[in-house]
């Protein structure tokens, strides 16, 4: 590939693939105001069903497409019926979290069934290329373009001329009014999930054939790209999603042409952040559209927090403090060290997501910033490790807040999308900024933890160090929540418009929350860097962000003690039950789903 025409063709083809994902997201968002984070998992499932059909059943191409579409649609229907419909009357955060949980479960099931290793998905078309102008085009390109156009046409006819299509449009515009016309909204949801899943599954199949390879990492990428395209086109806007997808494909393709392959995703996420900041309703939104998330105060489950008496907390702290002196194995200490590190991250997230209501899906980026800062300070500038960790925390607080600040004007789901994108951008910058971060090689030989010149190498000293840091952070956060600042945070979470009407500056309080939260997360990342002695751009990934979110929801959003309890439970229980590593993510996903369904306020209640 060399000519600009080639890059344009490639951009449009890739854009077509994104469009199949994004259109489904737009349909679902239109009807149920939900960003379906499981869309990429359906795409993944589609790719693997396609692999089974092609490689094992030797189906001809048209049949392969039909098999994938039908099977994926079934998965979509199951998700709607059993994952989302029971949550119809819960708080608005519930279905969002459920799709995240479903996506983890599906991805892990695919990984466990097919192994994480990539597989070759042969294209069932002849490998010839036609010369057109200064570029070339192959049969697969034409197939993808054909499937894209046909789907768009079918969808148009469906929405414009079929009764169910009318019901879909009416529901998207006014759900209650549609019900009063006799529209069965459950059937509309079913239809939309079925269609979205069929399109997503076929998209996965086509991408697999296009790159001749499928692996389980495809899922998150597809969700992210689909969400980017959909938001660029305007959430819920079906034609907008198509145009947004083509635009995204072209931007990426030209970006790759100029800067190289590793920059592909960076452009996608920068495009997203720019659109979110400048035109959060998408490029084609007109002024009459309602601002995102018009409902406030209903996003987080209200509940009465469980009050834990002070003496019980003191006893628990004392028990964990003297634990290393008791005859416990290093293995237990090691597990608890991990829990304390996760606890610090959870403290940070529970403040940001729970207390002030900004559900961040990119929290691992704060770990990464802290870890890299601390590692580089101690390695390059020989800063003592203790100070370097504090430096990591400060850097994470400052840089993290600065990076996330463009999303301060967003609300609800949009905050989650923006933070997810910002998290990805951080990891991509780490990958590409080789002169500072050493790029894909990562940083090795990070000095071990030390304090005032004494190296902390024994598990007992590391245990105490991390435990004390976490307890100090928790106490500080408890003080913060009890002050007028804490009340202001909760006021903004419960009703940001009312809070603003009372003179609270949203930007200032959101910044303060992220500064405090960023510091805790950065310290956690810094300690982790010195414990691991090696980090790279994948050490702190989206899985960790989601794990932290699960911990926070398990403990109860905004609940300090809950965050720590959640961390101990999610790190500890798999160890207690000796669950193999590859099943853990699956378990976390299931825990998240069960929580959302049966105890959305978490173990100790939201505060």
């Amino acid at each position: 590939m060399s000519s600009w025409l080639d890059y344009t063709i490639n951009g449009l083809i890739v854009g077509n693939v994104y469009a199949l994902v994004a259109v489904g997201l737009a349909l679902i968002f239109g009807v149920s105001r939900l960003i379906n984070f499981a869309q990429g998992s359906i795409y993944l499932v589609g790719a693997y069903i396609g692999w089974v059909a092609v490689v094992q059943l030797h189906t001809p191409l048209p049949l392969t497409i039909i098999v994938v579409a039908v099977a994926a649609a079934l998965v979509g229907l199951i998700i709607e019926r059993f994952g989302l419909r029971p949550l119809q009357n819960s708080v608005r955060i519930a279905p969002l979290l459920a799709t995240i949980g479903i996506s983890f479960v599906l991805d892990q099931l695919v990984m466990l069934t097919f192994s994480p290793n990539p597989r070759a998905l042969p294209s069932q078309l002849p490998d010839i290329r036609f010369q057109i102008g200064g570029g070339t085009i192959g049969p697969l390109d034409l197939l993808i373009a054909g499937v894209g156009l046909t789907s768009a046409l079918l969808l148009f006819v469906f929405l414009r001329y079929s009764k169910l299509g009318w019901a879909v449009r009416a529901t998207a515009q006014d759900r209650d009014a549609a019900m009063q016309m006799g529209v069965d909204v459950n059937r509309v949801n079913q239809a939309v999930f079925g269609i979205a899943a069929a399109l997503g599954g076929v998209s996965g199949l086509l991408v697999g054939m296009y790159y001749n390879q499928i692996d389980t990492a495809m899922s998150l990428q597809a969700t992210l790209k689909g969400v980017v395209a959909e938001v660029v086109g305007g959430a819920g806007n079906v034609p907008g999603a198509v145009i947004g997808s083509l635009l995204l494909g072209l931007v990426e393709s030209y970006g790759v042409a100029v800067f190289g392959t590793s920059y592909r995703n960076l452009f996608a996420f920068l495009l997203l952040v720019v659109v979110l900041v400048l035109r959060p309703n998408g490029l084609f939104a007109s002024a009459r559209q309602a601002p995102p998330e018009p409902l406030t105060g209903t996003f987080i489950a209200p509940s009465r927090p469980v009050r834990i008496p002070r003496w019980a907390l003191l006893i628990a702290t004392a028990v964990f403090a003297i634990l290393p002196l008791l005859p416990v194995s290093f293995y237990v200490l090691q597990t608890l060290i991990n829990a304390w590190l996760l606890g610090m991250l959870a403290l940070s997230l529970t403040l940001v997501a729970g207390t002030i209501g900004q559900v961040s899906l990119g929290h691992a980026a704060l770990l990464a910033i802290g870890a890299y800062t601390s590692a580089l300070l101690s390695l390059t500038f020989a800063v003592p490790v203790g100070l370097a960790i504090i430096g990591g925390g400060l850097m994470s607080a400052a840089l993290g807040t600065a990076l996330i600040s463009p999303s301060f004007r967003l609300r609800g789901h949009y905050v989650s999308i923006a933070t997810l994108a910002i998290g990805e951008i951080v990891s991509l910058v780490i990958l590409n900024w080789e002169s500072v971060t050493r790029g894909p090689i990562g940083i090795s030989g990070i000095p071990p933890l030390s304090l005032f010149g004494y190296e902390l190498v024994s598990p007992i000293s590391i245990y105490w160090f991390s435990f004390i840091v976490m307890v100090v952070l928790a106490l500080l956060q408890g003080r913060l929540l009890g002050s007028h600042l804490g009340r202001s945070f909760r006021a903004i979470r419960d009703d940001d418009i009312a809070a603003r009407a009372y003179g609270l500056s949203l930007n200032r309080y959101k910044s303060l929350a992220f500064i405090f939260g960023g510091f805790a997360a950065g310290v956690s990342g810094g300690i982790a860097a010195h414990l691991y002695s090696y980090i790279n751009h994948e050490t702190f990934n989206t899985q960790q962000s989601i794990l932290a979110l699960t911990v926070v929801i398990l403990g109860g959003l905004g609940n300090v003690v809950g965050a720590i309890l959640g961390a101990v439970a999610l790190v500890g229980l798999p160890e207690v039950f000796r669950i193999a590593a590859e099943y853990r993510i699956l378990i976390y996903g299931i825990v998240l789903l069960l929580l959302v369904r049966f105890r959305p306020q978490g173990l100790l209640g939201t505060m």
């Binding site: 009318w166 019901a167 515009q173 006014d174 019900m179 009063q180 016309m181 006799g182 529209v183 009459r288």
Partner: protein, 246 residues
């Protein structure tokens, strides 16, 4: 309240409704006789709109009974209730703003499958609401408030309902349109459709209603024939919420 008369089409009996801890209705009983216009009057936060939602199945009462044509509506979903023959003109019209006027009116016939009769009814709506004829392909959201009210009423009639429930049909309309809307409600009623409407504007509503109920903080404080209520000095007190007793 007394037992509903035998010719009642819609009845609410001893309905108690709650939003969380807060009680909205206290033993609410209302009956709409077949072929009548019944009006529910009340100020803000009296529970009027919630009464509409109860009838349409959008809110479920904690206790009490709601029947339509002798059968209970309580276990039914909103679409099922619509299929029983209740159409709605929601508060603030709630048109499908991005769909055309024609599509909006036809959405009213969503529960029907008789294509030809639907087409005939569409023509009939255009004779009843002649202004809409030129607006058919326009976006519904671009119409004026009065025109939107016409569309909402046409949309409701398209399901060939036995009863229409209307939530403040004259709200936000110019005086010209208010008269027009009231006249249309009377016309619709004369064609045999029972009407249950919720209104703040008592004097207007009592012009066209047969019976009326006055709702105050969730309790019926007055009821009777519209004629009698119009002359009742208490109606102003109760309606304005001025004095507690009525």
């Amino acid at each position: 309240m007394t037992n509903p008369p035998p010719d009642a089409l819609l009845t609410l009996t001893d309905v108690n409704t709650f939003y969380g801890q807060a009680q909205v209705h206290f033993d609410l009983s209302i009956s709409v006789p077949r072929g009548h216009i019944v009006c529910l009057l009340g100020g803000n936060a009296s529970g009027k709109s919630t009464t509409m939602k109860i009838i349409l199945g959008l809110v479920k009462p904690r206790s009490g009974e709601v029947t339509f044509d002798g059968a209970s509506l309580l276990g039914l979903t909103t679409p099922q209730i619509v299929r029983r023959g209740i159409a709605s003109v929601p508060e603030a019209r709630r048109l499908f703003a991005d769909m055309s006027v024609r599509e909006n009116i036809l959405m009213g016939a969503f529960v029907r499958n008789d294509r030809e009769a639907i087409a005939q009814d569409l023509d009939k709506m255009l004779t009843l609401f002649p202004k809409l004829g030129q607006r058919l392909s326009q976006r519904a959201g671009s119409l004026s408030g009065g025109e939107q009210q016409m569309v909402a009423m046409a949309r409701a009639l398209m399901s060939r309902p036995r009863m229409i429930v209307m939530d403040e049909p004259t709200m936000g309309l110019s005086p010209l349109y208010v008269d027009r809307v009231l006249e249309l409600i009377r016309t619709i009623n004369q064609e045999g459709v029972s009407v249950f409407m919720v209104e703040q504007n008592a004097s207007l509503a009592l012009e066209i209603a047969h019976e009326a109920y006055v709702l105050q903080t969730g309790k019926i404080v007055l009821s009777g024939s519209a004629r009698a209520l119009k002359d009742d000095p208490r109606i102003r007190d109760a309606y304005l919420g001025g004095s507690e007793a009525a």
